[in-house]
């Protein structure tokens, strides 16, 4: 049963009011035609125009007219924030919850449901999905690129399932690296600091046939964080990776891209595992080995003025060896996408895809277990979407649906309808209704994982008891129907404002339900107290995301964003354990998040940048609210050299950002300093 609470209607009314006020205040010299007359634009305006946005509709589109809540993290944002990894770069996106659990684990989600393996967020790097079907989440420790190679990160909050498939329930993050022709020449980037040491190398060159290519290497070592008492813990890690990218513009109509990466790392974490003999717990440190690689090819061709096709195929391998298990996964994916614009008022996108994934899982101790230990899955998908221009340069309706067939739940349909109203070049109002599903993962169907073991309270000589999470073959997809409304205003040349509100109604959310105890005899007798995955929770999540971008003066740019999220979940009988229950789910995501950023260009090539983050508390984990301030001083004496020093999290010695979820205890994010040099030749 889904009840719509009354409060979100107020939120929606508020947005309507806000939009009407915004209309009233747009400047008198708003051009009359809704279209874009580039010759009428000021030279400063032209310099600020984005050329393309690709994730929203799988086609090039002007960002300001996209009918979605979209935010782009630019290379400049990455450079000036001092972000050294993708998760850290995502902190500045309105609507995204980023919590660093320890030095190598992040909990990232959008619009609620923050957890270590945030299940409802699809993450892609250059079109390759890095969403792991074992836990429906992302292992952020191995998702890395040379930060200087990132062209932009497009983040769409809200369901992107129609185009991107199941699991793009609350958002899609697309990390896009630069075309090889934009990275010619050499680059050396070195950073040392109190927490991180990073070395990056890259070299790009042109091939005889006109194609461009680059190769890169990145090496990093990251120190352990401290615990609440200031004692250093054991979550240090190091990663090395290398890769290449080749881009070839075969002709005006055809282009080809090849790219690949390989990586290898050592990750240390204190891992608390239950054991079957006293003291029933093994809290020793696990030294984990991670390795993997991928190879991707993308081919695009304009068949005519109206029709173009794109073929993308990739292979991805991941290996992870921890103290209690080792897991290997091979993924092969192929997708064909077609864009067809038969008349000026229809723009079709459709595609078909196939993904094959095969895994092996071996446990070294009695827990964790996965049944079966090896599994091969096929995923077939097709989608179609049409953008209909109802009124030229004014009103566009985008409707479409994705159809998938997966090996867990069979057939899934994910339709959506989006409307974009652009009365003039400064205002866009958009609204959307969509359905998205989060399909089951390997663990939900086959887990056999002990959470805690304790001796029988009546008889210490009897077999011990284990609270064990069990998979369920009938575990179904989680379902979302989302209603979204947003407005984007280019108030004047210097200021733009973006507001997005949403009401998400969920059904079949994951819970754990108690089951009948039974005796297990391997490896030694113990009693299993089952907690079985089920879909006994529903509820609503609603909220609003506001962002403003202001070029205050020629030298000073400000950005501010605020996110509000309220979750109201209802479990059939307040299902089971801790955070899987309704209250736990509600209390794992901060209600309020605020972020502000300032970039100031000082004379003589100096830059002073600051980032402020305020996040409210997580009642479920007892994590208090925190305030974080990062600062950076940069110096660019020439095109070739860039130096910078920065101090991060300067308001605190350390603060926690998340609580304990899996077997790894959280640690606290410390304050840190760094010095960085980038040399291009």
């Amino acid at each position: 049963m889904i009840r719509l609470p009354w409060k979100p209607e107020l939120v929606a009314i508020g947005i309507f009011l806000g939009a009407s006020i915004a209309y009233g205040q747009t400047e008198a010299d708003t051009p009359e035609t809704g279209g874009d007359d580039f010759l009428e634009m000021d030279i400063e305006e032209l310099a600020e125009l984005d050329v393309v946005v690709t994730s929203v509709s799988k086609r090039e589109e002007k960002l300001s007219e996209a009918p979605s809540a979209i935010h782009v993290v630019t290379q400049e944002d990455i450079r000036r924030s001092g972000a050294t990894s993708i998760p850290e770069a995502l902190r500045m996106v309105p609507g995204l919850h980023v919590a660093r659990i320890n030095a190598n684990i992040w909990a990232i989600s959008a619009r609620g449901f923050q957890e270590q393996f945030g299940t409802k967020l699809l993450v892609l790097i250059d079109g390759r999905s890095v969403y792991d079907p074992l836990f429906s989440g992302v292992y952020w420790d191995v998702q890395d690129v040379l930060m200087e190679d990132i062209e932009r990160i497009e983040v769409i909050r809200g369901p992107g399932a129609t185009l991107w498939g199941a699991n793009a329930v609350n958002g899609v993050i697309n990390v896009i690296t630069k075309n090889a022709k934009d990275t010619l020449g050499g680059l050396i980037s070195g950073q040392v600091g109190s927490e991180e040491d990073i070395l990056g190398l890259r070299y790009g060159w042109k091939l005889p046939n006109g194609a461009s290519m680059r190769v890169y290497g990145k090496f990093k070592e990251i120190d352990a964080f401290e615990d609440a008492f200031g004692e250093e813990t054991d979550d240090d890690w190091s990663m090395e990776r290398a890769g290449f990218r080749l881009d070839w513009d075969v002709s005006d109509e055809e282009s080809l891209t090849f790219q690949g990466d390989i990586y290898n790392g050592d990750i240390s974490n204190q891992t608390i595992l239950p054991t079957l003999a006293p003291p029933y717990v093994d809290p020793s440190v696990s030294g984990n080995d991670v390795a993997g690689g991928n190879l991707l090819m993308r081919w695009r061709k304009d068949l005519s003025e109206e029709l173009d096709i794109e073929l993308q195929t990739y292979y991805d391998r991941t290996e992870r060896i921890e103290k209690d298990f080792e897991g290997f996964r091979d993924t092969f994916d192929i997708e064909l996408t077609t864009h067809w614009d038969p008349a000026t008022w229809h723009e079709f996108v459709w595609g078909v895809g196939y993904r094959y994934t095969s895994d092996e899982f071996r446990s070294f101790t009695f827990t964790p277990g996965l049944i079966p230990t090896e599994r091969k899955d096929d995923l077939f998908s097709a989608f179609i979407q049409d953008t209909i221009t109802l009124r030229e340069d004014c009103l566009k309706l985008t409707i479409g649906s994705k159809f998938e067939y997966n090996d867990y739940t069979g057939f899934e349909v994910q339709p959506s309808a989006r409307l974009a109203f652009t009365p003039d070049s400064r205002n866009t109002t958009w609204a959307a209704v969509s359905r998205a599903v989060r399909t089951p993962n390997r663990a939900e169907h086959g887990a056999f994982v002990s959470q805690a073991v304790f001796p029988n309270p009546m008889d210490p000589l009897a077999p011990p008891q284990s609270i064990t999470v069990l998979g369920n073959d009938d575990f179904d997809s989680e379902e979302l129907i989302a209603f979204e409304l947003g407005h984007r205003l280019q108030y004047n040349k210097r200021l733009s404002i973006d507001i997005a509100g949403f009401i998400d109604t969920y059904d079949h959310l994951r819970t754990l339900e108690g089951g009948a105890p039974f005796l297990e005899t391997e490896p030694s007798p113990y009693v299993v107290l089952p907690q079985i995955f089920d879909n006994e929770m529903d509820g609503n999540v609603y909220g609003v995301e506001v962002a403003a971008d202001c070029q205050v003066t020629d030298r000073w740019k400000l950005f501010a964003g605020y996110t509000y999220v309220q979750m109201q979940l209802h479990a059939e009988d307040d299902g089971g354990m801790g955070f899987f229950g309704a209250e736990g789910g509600e209390g794992s995501t901060p209600h309020h998040q605020f972020h502000a950023r300032s970039y100031y260009d000082l004379p003589c090539g100096f830059e002073f940048d600051m980032g402020l983050y305020a996040v409210s508390s997580l009642p479920n984990y007892g994590v208090p609210s925190y305030l974080r301030l990062d600062t950076r001083l940069g110096y660019r004496p020439s095109e070739q050299l860039e130096l910078s020093i920065g101090a991060q999290n300067i308001l605190d010695d350390r603060h926690p950002e998340f609580g304990i979820t899996s077997s790894i205890p959280p640690t606290e994010v410390e304050h840190s300093v760094y010095a960085k040099m980038t040399y291009r030749f």
């Binding site: 580039f38 010759l39 634009m41 030279i43 032209l46 050329v51 393309v52 046939n209 190091s238 055809e254």
Partner: protein, 180 residues
């Protein structure tokens, strides 16, 4: 770094096909932005008083080569004026065809004979705008460059001033890079 340095450089051998000079497939939006810039350059450049170009009542924007921005510019300049002067667009395919124009835009497709074009235009006070950085290095006064998903441009101030052109501070301020 505890483990062996783990660097893998995958070398793809020269894909040796004598393919035609590859031009970059350009989105129409990119072309429109560049067209907007050309119109703006015409607004903010002063031609030398001694040259008839500063006193004519029509501003001519010339385009040599197969650049997609030409079609958009052709249409978009209809009915517009710069300080009372009308604007026309002329297209050329070969160096010999070039007649007097205020601004000459050199497409990427003409990279091959860029030196020839620049040589022939050297004595004239025509503003030379190149489609990419390669043309900038060969001597264009301005050229476009795509940075962080935006179209920007570079300026060679001294080269422009040498032929008597005066660039407004507005252009210099917005430029991504000004040399000379």
């Amino acid at each position: 770094m505890r483990n062996l340095l783990f660097v893998s450089f995958i070398f793809i051998g020269a894909i040796g096909s004598p393919s035609p000079t590859p031009s970059q497939p350009e989105s129409s939006r990119e072309s429109k932005i560049k067209a907007g810039y050309l119109f703006n350059f015409a607004k903010f450049v002063e031609w030398p008083a001694s040259d008839p170009k500063s006193t004519t009542d029509t501003i001519v924007i010339g385009i040599i080569g197969a650049d997609p921005l030409g079609d958009y510019l052709d249409e978009a300049v209809q009915g517009k004026d710069i300080e009372g002067k009308s604007v026309t667009v002329k297209r050329f395919e070969a160096v010999e065809e070039i007649t007097a124009c205020h601004i000459l835009f050199i497409s990427a497709s003409h990279r091959g004979n860029a030196d020839e074009i620049l040589e022939s235009m050297r004595e004239t006070s025509t503003l030379l705008v190149g489609a990419n950085e390669d043309l900038f290095e060969r001597g264009c006064h301005l050229s476009f460059v795509i940075k962080e998903n935006k179209v920007k441009f570079k300026v060679n101030k001294s080269a422009a001033e040498r032929v008597g052109l005066k660039l407004s501070s507005k252009i210099l301020r917005v430029a991504d890079e000004v040399i000379g």
